[in-house]
Each structure stands twice: as structure tokens, then as C-alpha cells.
């Protein structure tokens, strides 16, 4: 039986499986009964406020912390009993650190040996890929934060892992660096690498993630595909004309509810109106009320995230 990323014939093996994962530190529950599954090639964005349980979950995934309860399977196996499987995993947890007195190349050589690799070309390749060629003979202690982060990613990517676990990988990178890393991650995903990524730069997660999970106070409160995310983001049509009160009346006659917000412009939440703004525009022009402003406003991931967490707080409060 072939047992790589596929289990039984036709049945796709999950790369990450967490079942009822719980971690307690004395009386404090850091992670509470989390279950999730991630398949090959997916990019899973893991969102949460500081202290929500993201890093604890990632450390349980990496076998650094033992779960109080629950199971962690990587590639369908308990990785703590299968050490060789760690070569299928690359990781970077929080801010990356390297041996300060070693050069970039020497730092990579250390992990080349620790990962039992044999082809030295892997070091050259990853140096080139992460644009570290100019710094390969520079000691890590002299690197900028951005280049240190690249070195951390180089360590995680050098062995071409099937699963990448990244905690805040964009930290310290300049905008050009963020775009480069985003492209690298997308390319890896296309080649079948599964990526589990936590980041506080939510727009990055929105651009990258094929699936998003939101963790709050240790619980996974929402999990959705990127297509579902598009549907769940609040949208509204914003209109401003020379006589907004007449527009409200006009829309009311067409059974479209609208209101004037605190900035004095019209907001419409009607799904049909939002999906066909050109029809609304035509009606207004025909009525002699050509719009000065007309656009569809879409909630960003930050707002969606905060709204989701607030709803959860209300749900908990309401019991």
C-alpha cells in the first residue's frame, strides 16, 4: 500500500489531524478541545489575538508541548514515535533565532547535519531562493531583522518539507520581503506543500490562505474556506447624491431598505442591490439624482475577525 500523502486507495490522507486537543497549564486552559484537519497543498491561516492559544497549538503540533488531552497526527502518524517524519516538516516558531557567531551558510550547515541531509546543493539553492547570497558569509549577529527572518525561513525550507508550520513568518520583513515570501509560499503550495501559518497580518492570511481558522480563548470558534470567507464578509453599497432623503424614498418604493449613516451617506445592505450596483445607478440617473459616489464597501479581514470574536464574547455572555 502506498502511504505518502494518500492512505487507502482514493482516500486522501490528511497532513495535519488534531482531535480534541486540550492543553492545561495548572488551572489555565490554553487550548480547549480543538479539532481540525488539513489536507495536502492547503494553506491554513490560523488567526487569534495574543494569548488565544495559537503558539501553544503550534508547539503541540511540533511535539514541543505534550497535550493534556487529545491527539496530534501528522501524515496520519504520531510523529513523536516516528522521528524520520520530521524531515517532512519545516517550521519556524515566533521570532527566529540563529547562532550569532556563525555565518548564514554555517548556520544552514548546522541544520543540514541535524536534518541528516546529504546533498550540499540544498544549501546553495535555499540561499539563492531566499536572496541571501550577499549575506552568506555574514555572521548572523550582524544581520538585519528581515534577513534573520529569511535565514529562519531558509532553515525551515532547506530540506523541501511537505509541511511547513510558520508562526508569524512575516515579522520584520519589509514590504518587498513580504511579497517575496508570499510568492514563495504560494509556489510551495502549488507544488503540494501544506502550509500552516499564523500571522497577525490578517491581510496576508487573506491573500494566502485556502482555509482560515479563528482561535479565541483556546477554542476554535470559526473555520472556513477562503470562498466562504468572501461570502461572510459584510458588504454594503455606499451612495451619495445631491438629495439623499429623496433617494431613500425612491429606494423604499422599489422595496430596497436603506439608511443614512453618521457621515450623511446612504448605506444599503440589500444583497440584490449590492450584487447589481449598476442597476441602482441607472435608476438614480433616470430619477434625476445622479450619484456623486457609488461603491461597494467590503469588510476587511481585520473587521471580520474582530466581529467574529465579539459575537463569540456575546454568545458566551448570553450563555
Amino acid at each position: 500500500m502506498v502511504c505518502t500523502l494518500f492512505g487507502m486507495e482514493g482516500e486522501e490522507m490528511k497532513v495535519i489531524e488534531l482531535y480534541n486537543l486540550t492543553k492545561k497549564f495548572k488551572d489555565f486552559i490554553a487550548v480547549n478541545n480543538i479539532s481540525l484537519e488539513i489536507g495536502p497543498g492547503e494553506i491554513y491561516g490560523f488567526l487569534g489575538l495574543n494569548g488565544a492559544g495559537k503558539t501553544t497549538t503550534i508547539r503541540m503540533l511540533l511535539g514541543m508541548i505534550k497535550p493534556t488531552q487529545g491527539t496530534v497526527l501528522l501524515f496520519g502518524k504520531d510523529i513523536r514515535k516516528n522521528f524520520d517524519l520530521w524531515n517532512n516538516v519545516g517550521y519556524m516558531v515566533e521570532t527566529t533565532h540563529s547562532y550569532p557567531n556563525l555565518t548564514v551558510r554555517e548556520n544552514l550547515e548546522v541544520y543540514f547535519h541535524l536534518r541528516k541531509l546529504t546533498d550540499k546543493k540544498l544549501i546553495d539553492d535555499v540561499i539563492e531562493r531566499l536572496k541571501l547570497s550577499d549575506y552568506q558569509n555574514t555572521k548572523a549577529k550582524y544581520l538585519s531583522l528581515g534577513n534573520l527572518q529569511r535565514l529562519g525561513l531558509a532553515k525551515a525550507l532547506m530540506h523541501e518539507p511537505k509541511l511547513l508550520i510558520l508562526d508569524e513568518p512575516m515579522n520584520g520583513l519589509d514590504p518587498a520581503g513580504i511579497i517575496e515570501i508570499r510568492e514563495i509560499l504560494k509556489e510551495l503550495s502549488k507544488r503540494g506543500t501544506t502550509i500552516f501559518i499564523s500571522s497577525h497580518i490578517l491581510s496576508e492570511i487573506a491573500k494566502l490562505g485556502t482555509k482560515i481558522g479563528i482561535i479565541h480563548k483556546g477554542r476554535l470558534i470559526k473555520e472556513l474556506e477562503s470562498e466562504q470567507l468572501e461570502q461572510q464578509l459584510l458588504k454594503r453599497l455606499i451612495i451619495d447624491t445631491s438629495d439623499n432623503l429623496r433617494v431613500i424614498e425612491l429606494l423604499k418604493n422599489k422595496n430596497i431598505l436603506s439608511s443614512i449613516n453618521d457621515k450623511g451617506v446612504i448605506e444599503i445592505y440589500d444583497y440584490k442591490a449590492i450584487s447589481e450596483p449598476e442597476v441602482i445607478c441607472g435608476c438614480l440617473v433616470n430619477a434625476g439624482l445622479p450619484p456623486r459616489t457609488l461603491y461597494v464597501f467590503e469588510e476587511d479581514l481585520e473587521s471580520f475577525f474582530i466581529r467574529t470574536i465579539s459575537n463569540e464574547e456575546v454568545n458566551v455572555w448570553m450563555g
Binding site: 511535539g63 522521528f83 556563525l102 541535524l114 541528516k116
Partner: protein, 261 residues
């Protein structure tokens, strides 16, 4: 075996460009240099009278300007100074992963965690023996330069045997230090523990349990306290071995099973 070998190579690589290693070698070299200084004082009575304190110290150590005295002094350096310097080595090798904040990168690798620590222990042994050998070579050079008397194969053989057994005994006490380095995630606690053992040495040395206090045994074996060496017995060595094993097991157990937060 391949995993252990690769981890060992990685550990050696980490020592590249390390200033700490050279500082430790330089500090340990002070031993033979101090011995050399005392011999110069003994060989120059006029100078000895001008430097009263050092002269008295040389007299206390029943020092004479011959190879036997000098070798014996080198063994005592390893018996007491070795515990301190080897402790620094263990503290550095095991604590640096937390000081450099690279410990997390050693936890999820295709080489199991015990092998990574064993590689560190092998590097520890290698470094400590290198330190001992370097002091011995320096001792030979300085002894030759001072024209020490009584150069005999028998004396050489006996003293080198004592020197390396003392080294081995001192080296065995590195395992509790490695545990404290991992447990406290840095250098401070292991070095604090080292200082504590040195303070305890002072008190216990004047009691009858000195033969069973692990941190005094290498010094006693080296002959530093004269006739007390003959009073070391099998229990003394068993207690030292037990301390070493407990330190090793605690180090491995902690690294394998603790939550690395």
C-alpha cells in the same frame, strides 16, 4: 549511529568562531603558569623573600622544583580548577541553546532528542580532555624551560595516570551542571550551583564526610590534601558515579519530557 555522528558534527560546527572556547583554554592555562611561577620563586630565594605571600603558599604546598611536584600540582589544578572550568564548559554547551534562543530548533528533527544531548556530552568530554591535554603540554614545555629535576619514566607514568584519572573524576561532575543549564534555560543557575558546591567544599573539607562529597573527591584523589587521598574508598567513587548518572538521567529526562514553552 548516523544521527549521533551528524549531531556531533553539528555541535562541533557550533563551536566555530566561539570566543568562549578560547577564553576557557586561556583560563585553564593559568594553572601550569601559576605552578611555573611558584617554581621560579622556589628557585630564587631572594625573590621568594620579597614575595612573602606567594612564597608561603609554595611552602604550604610542599613544593619543590622537580617534575614530581610539578605534575602533582597539575593534578591538583585539574582536581579543583577542573571542576570549575569543566563546569563552565558544560554550562556553555548546554545553556547556549537558550541564550542564543535556538533550543526550539533542536526539538523537532529527524535525530531523536537524546542523541542530540549525547552529541553535546561527547563534545563536552572532547573539550575537557583537550583542556587537560593542553595543560599537560604547557606543563611539559614550562617544566623543560625551568630545567626541573628528577625526570624519570616511573614518575612520569604515575603522575600522568593520576592526572588523567583526576580529569575523569572532575569531568563526571559536568552532568548535574548540564541539567541545571537546561532546567534554568541559561547559564546563571548552573554557575550558581557551581559556586554553591565550591562553598560547600570549604565546609565539608574539614569534616569526616569529605570522602563522600562528590565535588571534593577529584581534589582528594589528586593528592591536594595529602594523606586524605588514601582514605577514599569504593563508596566515594560509587557516590561520584551515582551523581554523574543522576545528572545525566535528569538532563535527558527533562529534555525529552518537559513542555518546551
Amino acid at each position: 549511529m548516523d544521527g549521533l555522528k551528524r549531531a556531533f558534527i553539528a555541535e562541533l560546527l557550533k563551536l566555530k568562531h566561539s570566543n568562549v572556547v578560547w577564553i576557557i583554554f586561556a583560563a585553564f592555562a593559568l594553572g601550569p603558569i601559576m605552578g611555573c611561577l611558584m617554581i621560579i620563586i622556589l628557585q630564587n630565594p631572594i625573590l621568594a623573600s620579597k614575595l612573602g605571600i606567594i612564597s608561603s603558599k609554595a611552602a604550604i604546598l610542599t613544593f619543590s622544583a622537580d617534575w614530581n611536584s610539578y605534575f602533582s600540582f597539575l593534578s591538583q589544578v585539574v582536581g579543583f580548577g577542573g571542576i570549575i572550568v569543566f563546569g563552565f564548559v558544560a554550562s556553555y554547551l548546554f545553556g547556549r541553546e537558550y541564550v542564543d534562543r535556538t533550543a526550539r530548533d533542536l526539538l523537532s528533527l529527524p535525530i531523536n532528542r537524546t542523541k542530540i544531548l549525547n552529541a553535546k556530552f561527547f563534545v563536552y568530554i572532547l573539550l575537557c580532555f583537550s583542556l587537560a591535554v593542553s595543560d599537560l603540554i604547557l606543563g611539559f614545555i614550562l617544566g623543560k624551560a625551568l630545567n626541573l629535576t628528577n625526570w624519570e619514566y616511573r614518575i612520569l607514568h604515575e603522575n600522568i595516570q593520576i592526572y588523567f584519572i583526576t580529569t575523569l573524576l572532575a569531568l563526571a561532575l559536568g552532568t548535574p551542571i548540564s541539567f541545571f543549564a537546561l532546567w534554568s534555560k541559561g547559564y546563571l543557575a548552573p554557575l550558581g550551583f557551581l559556586v554553591l558546591t565550591l562553598i560547600l567544599d570549604q565546609f565539608i573539607a574539614i569534616t569526616n564526610i569529605r570522602y563522600y562529597f562528590p565535588w571534593l573527591i577529584p581534589g582528594l584523589y589528586s593528592g591536594a590534601l595529602g594523606e586524605f587521598k588514601s582514605l577514599l574508598n569504593i563508596w566515594s567513587y560509587l557516590i561520584l558515579a551515582f551523581t554523574c548518572i543522576v545528572g545525566y538521567v535528569l538532563t535527558i529526562f527533562w529534555w525529552e519530557y518537559t513542555d518546551h514553552i
